[in-house]
């Protein structure tokens, strides 16, 4: 394994140790980035951004806890 792939893997693991969890968060961010174009109240968007990320976090830890016993 050459040094470049080791470096890339190391950087990747800094951000991702549960692929589905990281992908969900990234997808939610991408969705929220485009949301202001819809024209909702910008303050509502703030709440929605936080609510979605909080939900992804809780779902992620519960899924990991359930997997732990299976």
């Amino acid at each position: 394994m050459n040094w470049a792939s080791v470096l890339l893997q190391t950087i990747w693991r800094l951000f991702v140790d549960d692929g589905a969890f990281a992908l969900s968060a990234a997808a939610w961010l991408a969705f929220m980035w485009q949301l202001p174009a819809v024209g909702l109240n910008p303050i509502w968007n703030c709440g929605l951004l936080f609510f979605g990320l909080g939900l992804i976090l809780v779902h992620g830890v519960l899924r990991r806890t359930k997997d732990h016993h299976h």
């Binding site: 080791v6 800094l14 990234a26 202001p36 990320l53 909080g54 976090l57 990991r64």
Partner: protein, 252 residues
């Protein structure tokens, strides 16, 4: 125009950003080690100085929103990953020192001995990101205050450098008391702070209007703390149910 008010404006505005970065750098240093944390911050400051030296006022053309979206987005994913592990540790789902074991395994796999030097890439990357983000804010503040001419930029820069010096001095004074806080509690707090900062900056970049602007950071921190504490409770209940089911299966 008088120089004094410009220096003061540069100082106060930069101090807010520096203190925000210091909060994270100190917390990361206490939990993951000072070498990685401080070097991440120093490298970020050097990179920022080089960028400013190379591009100067041309940087005003770079939309700050793009920086906030990109670095804020990375910080959200990074912070949530950190907080997820802290929750799982607190709930007893994973071991308290799983990262040390994972790092040792990775070191064996890579066949290197670099870990013995105390170098920590996670600490480096975290401090680097937060310092780059807050530092970029300081650069834009200095450029904004000094928009009227080169002399004004120098005055604003003096204020920004003074803020940095005050922040570093504060960090040196308060870093020792932090060591008395339990490690996992600090890791938990770092996860909450990283997630809150990342969410705030991403929202700013995406054009969202945070109520109370930077005061929203306190609300986000409290919000993530509540979510995390609730998640720990839910995980403990789920874990206990799993353990009971396993015990029941063995008994029958």
């Amino acid at each position: 125009m008088q120089v004094g008010p410009l220096v003061m404006a540069g100082f106060l505005a930069s101090l807010v950003e520096c203190v925000e970065a210091l909060t994270i750098v100190l917390a990361v240093g206490s939990t993951r080690g000072w070498r990685g944390s401080v070097s991440g911050s120093v490298v970020a400051i050097v990179v920022l100085i080089l960028i400013v030296g190379a591009f100067g006022r041309a940087l005003e053309q770079v939309p700050i929103e793009l920086v906030q979206i990109f670095v804020g987005g990375l910080l959200v994913i990074f912070g949530l990953r950190w907080l997820r592990k802290a929750i799982l540790r607190s709930a007893g789902v994973i071991a308290l020192h799983d990262e040390a074991a994972a790092f040792a395994a990775e070191k064996r796999r890579m066949g290197t001995a670099s870990g013995s030097s105390g170098w920590d890439l996670v600490a480096f990357a975290t401090s680097f990101q937060i310092t780059m983000l807050e530092g970029a804010e300081v650069v834009f503040i200095v450029l904004g205050i000094g928009a009227g001419g080169a002399g004004l930029t120098v005055a604003a820069s003096i204020g920004a450098v003074a803020a940095l010096v005050v922040t570093v001095a504060t960090g040196i004074i308060v870093h020792r008391p932090l060591a008395s806080i339990p490690e996992n509690l600090l890791k938990f707090i770092v996860g909450v702070l990283l997630s809150a900062f990342g969410t705030f900056w991403f929202g700013e970049g995406a054009g969202m209007l945070w109520p109370g602007t930077e005061w929203s950071l306190a609300g986000l921190t409290l919000g993530y703390l509540l979510v995390a504490v609730t998640a720990v409770r839910l995980c403990r209940v789920t874990r206990q149910k799993g353990l009971d089911a396993v015990a029941l299966g063995k008994a029958s």
